[in-house]
């Protein structure tokens, strides 16, 4: 059982980091969400695993699982929503103002990034905005 949880943390971390290393904002955000799962499970697991020992006090029950990591992870889950929401808004704002959702600054002399497959109406003055951002 411990092996399952540990390997799940590893798989989520690996996938999270792989996605964080992509070049566009959306996969990076998905990647950070996966990392959030991994971190939360990791923190939770630091209280060690237990089955059917929920920390709800009952008469006659003596052993409970560790409640402390649960309390910490609970707030972490809610806060991570707030974090995701802010990051997504920043990414969205950057994309809407610059028409570019790359996470990296373009190096000088490098060609224009591949256009996105957006059948959108043409956007006025986007070249200028992008230059202003860099």
């Amino acid at each position: 059982m411990e092996l399952l949880v540990a390997s799940a943390v590893g798989v989520l971390t690996a996938a999270g980091i792989y996605l964080v290393l992509r070049l566009r904002t959306f996969p990076v955000i998905i990647g950070t969400s996966l990392l959030t799962y991994a971190v939360n499970i990791f923190l939770f697991a630091s209280g060690r695993l237990a089955v059917n020992q929920a920390p709800i006090l009952r008469d006659g029950v003596e052993t409970y699982t560790d409640p402390l990591p649960q309390a910490l992870v609970l707030t972490a889950i809610v806060i991570s929503f707030g974090m995701t929401a802010v990051v997504v808004m920043i990414a969205l704002g950057a994309y809407l103002s610059a028409d570019d959702d790359h996470v990296n600054l373009r190096e000088e002399g490098q060609p224009e990034p591949a256009r996105l497959d957006e059948p959108d109406a043409p956007r006025p003055g986007d070249g200028a905005t992008r230059e202003a951002l860099q």
Binding site: V5, A6, S7, V11, A14, I17, A54, G82, M89
Partner: protein, 954 residues
């Protein structure tokens, strides 16, 4: 007066001048004066006790775990310096009142000055070296503000920067030295450290600690080779130069050397470093001073030279030399502050400080001439003035000193230093005041108002009184010397007197004075030679070094911080993995003895699903919608896992957060491209995959290692389990922990959540207020819209469901204290119920029915939680102490009420508000983007011509 109050008064008083300037310059100056006066009087109350040898202490434990305590103590040395700081401080405040022009912001000036005064008093009274470091840095900062007070002057800004760089660097070095010193002595309290001379001097950390501390002292007290900042600090207004850069701040380094003298001095290293640095500084500073044409630069270098003299005396390590050092600190403070003030007067009256442009002021400014002459003669070491007495003691010490196996080196160097000192003192008198009256001064000089010449005159009275009757100063000097020596030596049986007979020191003094006069007579040719000599320009060297550092750090920063987020992330992941691996392989762990849970088929199935979903996610992530679906799968399995592993609260939270996160990402995806183009090469993908695998292996290895071992230390969880019901009145330990044991954390977290939501709101506003708005309005959807934006079935279902879901929310909330649930989860559930209304019936419809703005709900939540916490104060308990009791209202069952419930209401409201405000902000973006707004629910096509005009829904 309590020592705390003496230190605190200037700090508290620093708030006043900025306010009092509204009442006029006189009121402002008087306020600052009275603040200093109050502290001074408070200090003087302790004089009788301290002079009889008592040590007054005051203690508050601040952070005893770190050895950082607010301990103050007042002995002879502290009293002496505090008197100088507050006494000269008052004179400078009076002087500055008349010196500053109407264009200067006097309130700002006095505020900085009092801040400096407080920090300085803090240094000399504190009994804890960590506290001392804090005050030390505060003097550097306030000195920076004062040097750069005239912000429009480039020299002022540059001088301030240089002073801060040099003294700040020394301060950093001193932090290291002080920590080592505390480490050796086992305490950071000065009085304890002073008892540990043997332990400190025999420790192998002694030399590094000494070097680092001396670096701090030498930079602060402008000792060679760090002397160059002081002349550049002369760009400050003259009151600042008189106060900080002659009488007090530059003596902080000297003070510290004197303070730690009992434990640091007496070794070869101390003697060699301190004495030779002092000697070089003394001679070099005096030599440069002779040829300076700027009045203040001349005085600045003479200060450097005199500080060198005191340093040298402290370096010698004999009680007699220490006594001479103490006496010279007093004498130098009096005559040099007076001289700076007269320089300020001359600048003020003639509008120039350039010596060749001056001369003949004797007749025009007789009062200033008298004051300056007496002070300068004292500086030159002329008998019957106080400078003579301590200079004699210095020469006496030097006459018997052997350095680098030479009997002649120190006596000759000391005589030469005294000779130069006499020369520049005479030059100050003759080139400024003597000679014919000129008619081309930039202004018409005459004696200034009393407020300007009064303070230096008072100081010169001291110069003469101590010079004529040194026995008056003797008790103080003896007491201070005793405090410096501590247990390391006996106060010498020497009497301060004018006449000691024809000693070697008197002969050296005579040579110095005569030589000084001769040098001045030959000034014109000598200065030509001096000008022709190549000299290293300290500022150029300093600027070159700083420029080099800036260029280097610029290159490093640009190299590392090149705008490639991907690279940062990769470096971060690999570094963390490497550090973790390093810690693992070099550290110690206990044996893996914990009994593991058996493998069951159900978790295995979940695990398989999770791995498959994650794997697919990696390969299929370009299809963004699919990626979201897969992410949702992962989230659900994680929640199920929490539930299986005895964490029902986490399962509920994860599940509801999952819902809102996916809705949020869908809202965002509405504007983003629906596919991620393939850009990275297969090699790049392989590399990224490898980095991911390495990090994954590290984390899973660590997680497995933790889970297969028992706790290394006793866990605090048992306390929570035991006291949850007894102390918190709830059986759901997780919830009780959140709202009671760690309520303060939770309070912070709901505030963070609220701030995050407000940031999103603010970003949306900024976007909608800018060019993006037009773009959104012109935007056409990239995919065909569903013909039925608000399906009838869904609208009806969600409206029927709303009260039911709200009921569930209330239920989850109420049972939270005892069963899985609580404010966080209930908040998320209610938020989902409301969001569903937006989705089903449209933004406009739902928005029109919202009575309370979401910002208000967040604020109300934080307020309710905070007020619940404050409620505990009325019962004399700390913030957020909870109480509970059992009540019975017939005919209901007995039920429990806890104040934690009120706190949980706050959490609930904050969560609802934050989630709704975030999602609503995203939806508002969509509204602007040419979205067809349905004002009428259950409307298939709102753009049709015969749309109903009346509101049909209630």
């Amino acid at each position: 007066m309590s020592l705390f109050l003496i230190v605190a008064l200037p700090f508290l008083g620093a708030l006043l001048p900025g306010l009092m300037i509204e009442a006029g310059r006189r009121a402002c100056g008087l306020t600052a004066l009275f603040v200093s006066l109050a502290a001074f009087v408070g200090l003087m109350v302790h004089v009788p006790a301290v002079m009889s040898g008592e040590v007054i202490t005051a203690q508050i434990n601040w952070l005893p775990e770190f050895g950082l305590n607010l301990n103050l103590f007042l002995d002879g040395l502290g009293l002496f310096f505090a008197m100088l700081i507050l006494g000269i401080g008052m004179l400078v405040i009076v002087y500055a009142r008349y010196y500053l022009s109407r264009d200067d912001n006097m309130g700002e000036f006095y505020t900085y000055l009092l801040l400096f005064q407080g920090a300085m008093v803090g240094i000399v009274l504190c009994d804890n070296i960590l506290l001392l470091l804090i005050f030390w840095e505060m003097t550097s900062l306030s000195s920076f503000l004062l040097i750069g007070f005239w912000k429009h002057l480039a020299e002022g800004r540059q001088g301030a920067k240089m002073a801060l760089t040099v003294t700040g660097m020394g301060g950093l070095a001193m932090v290291g030295g002080m920590l080592m010193l505390g480490q050796i002595a086992g305490s950071y309290d000065i009085q304890v450290i002073l008892q540990n001379r043997e332990a400190i001097q025999s420790s192998e950390l002694y030399l590094p600690a000494l070097l680092l501390i001396l670096l701090g002292c030498f930079t602060k007290s402008a000792q060679f080779p760090f002397h160059f900042w002081l002349p550049h600090a002369m760009a400050a207004p003259t009151p600042v130069s008189a106060y900080l850069h002659s009488a007090t701040m530059v003596k902080a380094g000297i003070f510290l050397m004197a303070r730690l003298w009992p434990v640091l001095s007496g070794t070869d290293a101390w003697f060699m470093i301190v004495t030779s640095a002092g000697l070089i500084t003394m001679v070099l500073g005096a030599l440069i001073a002779i040829f300076k044409n700027d009045l203040k630069a001349l005085l600045a270098f003479s200060t450097v030279s005199h500080l060198g003299l005191i340093t040298m005396l402290l370096g010698v390590g004999t009680p007699y030399a220490a006594m001479a050092a103490v006496f010279h600190i007093l004498n130098h403070a009096t005559f040099k502050a007076a001289l700076f003030m007269t320089a300020g007067i001359i600048d003020h009256e003639t509008h120039t400080r350039h010596i060749p442009a001056l001369g003949g002021l004797r007749k025009l400014m007789p009062v200033t001439f008298t004051i300056a002459t007496l002070a300068a003669l004292s500086m030159a070491g002329i008998p019957l003035l106080n400078g003579f007495l301590s200079k004699e003691m210095m020469l006496e010490t030097a006459a018997h000193l052997t350095l680098f196996d030479s009997h002649l080196l120190v006596p000759v160097a000391a005589t030469v230093g005294a000779l130069f000192s006499a020369a520049y003192s005479f030059r100050y008198i003759s080139h400024v005041f003597l000679g014919p009256v000129r008619d081309e001064y930039p202004a018409h000089p005459h004696d200034p108002p009393r407020g300007l010449w009064g303070p230096p005159a008072l100081l010169v009275v001291l110069v003469v009184v101590i010079g004529l009757a040194p026995f008056l100063a003797e008790p103080l000097v003896v007491q201070v010397t005793a405090a410096v020596l501590g247990s390391a030596g006996e106060v010498p049986e020497v009497h301060l007197a004018i006449w000691h007979g024809v000693t070697p020191a008197l002969k050296m003094s005579g040579i110095a004075v005569v030589g000084g006069i001769l040098l001045l007579l030959a000034y014109a040719p000598l200065s030509k030679i001096w000008e022709a000599l190549p000299r290293p320009e300290a500022k150029a060297i300093f600027d070159a070094i700083i420029g080099g550092c800036v260029a280097l750090s610029g290159r490093v920063t640009r190299g590392l911080h090149n705008g490639s987020f991907t690279m940062y992330a990769a470096i971060f992941a690999l570094t963390v993995s490497a550090l973790g691996a390093h810690a693992w392989f070099t550290g110690q762990t206990s044996a893996a003895t914990r009994v593991q849970l058996p493998l069951e088929p159900l978790p295995l199935a979940g695990w398989t699903l999770l791995v498959l979903a994650t794997g697919f996610l990696c390969f299929m992530h370009r299809d963004r919608l699919l990626a979201l679906v897969l992410m949702g799968v992962v989230g659900v399995i994680v929640s199920l896992g929490f539930n299986y592993l005895s964490a029902p609260d986490l399962a509920l939270t994860q599940l509801s957060v999952e819902v809102v996160t996916i809705i949020l990402l869908l809202l965002a995806l509405n504007f983003l491209p629906k596919r991620t183009p393939a850009e990275s090469s297969s090699g790049g993908r392989l590399r990224d995959g490898l980095i991911g695998v390495v990090a994954g292996l590290c984390t899973s290895g660590l997680a497995y290692a933790i889970m297969s071992r028992n706790f290394a230390f006793e866990s605090i969880s048992d306390y929570h389990l035991e006291n949850s019901y007894k102390g918190g009145g709830g059986t759901n330990v997780v919830n009780v922990t959140l709202v009671d044991f760690r309520g303060f954390d939770t309070f912070g977290e709901i505030i963070v959540l609220g701030i995050a939501a407000l940031i999103i709101y603010a970003l949306t506003e900024a976007l909608l207020g800018g060019p993006v708005r037009a773009r959104l309005l012109n935007r056409r959807p990239d995919r065909p819209r569903a013909g039925d934006a608000h399906p009838l079935m869904m609208v009806v279902a969600t409206r029927v469901m709303l009260p039911v879901v709200l009921m569930v929310g209330v239920y989850i909330f109420l049972r939270g204290h005892n069963e899985p649930g609580g404010g966080f989860i209930a908040g998320l559930i209610v938020a989902i119920a409301v969001v569903v209304q937006y989705m089903a019936s449209g933004f406009a419809w739902a928005d029109a029915r919202i009575r309370y703005p979401y910002h208000g709900i967040i604020g109300a939540g934080v307020l309710v939680a905070g007020l619940t916490g404050i409620g505990a104060w009325f019962f004399g308990k700390p913030f957020l102490t909870s109480a509970f009791g059992y009540f019975r209202i017939p005919p209901m069952e007995e039920f429990e009420l806890a104040t934690a419930m009120g706190f949980d209401v706050g959490v609930f409201l904050a969560v609802v508000g934050a989630v709704m405000l975030s999602l609503e902000s995203y939806a508002r973006l969509a509204r602007r983007s040419n979205e067809i707004v349905s004002d009428h629910a259950m409307d298939i096509d709102p753009s049709r011509d015969d749309a109903p005009t009346e509101e049909q829904e209630g």
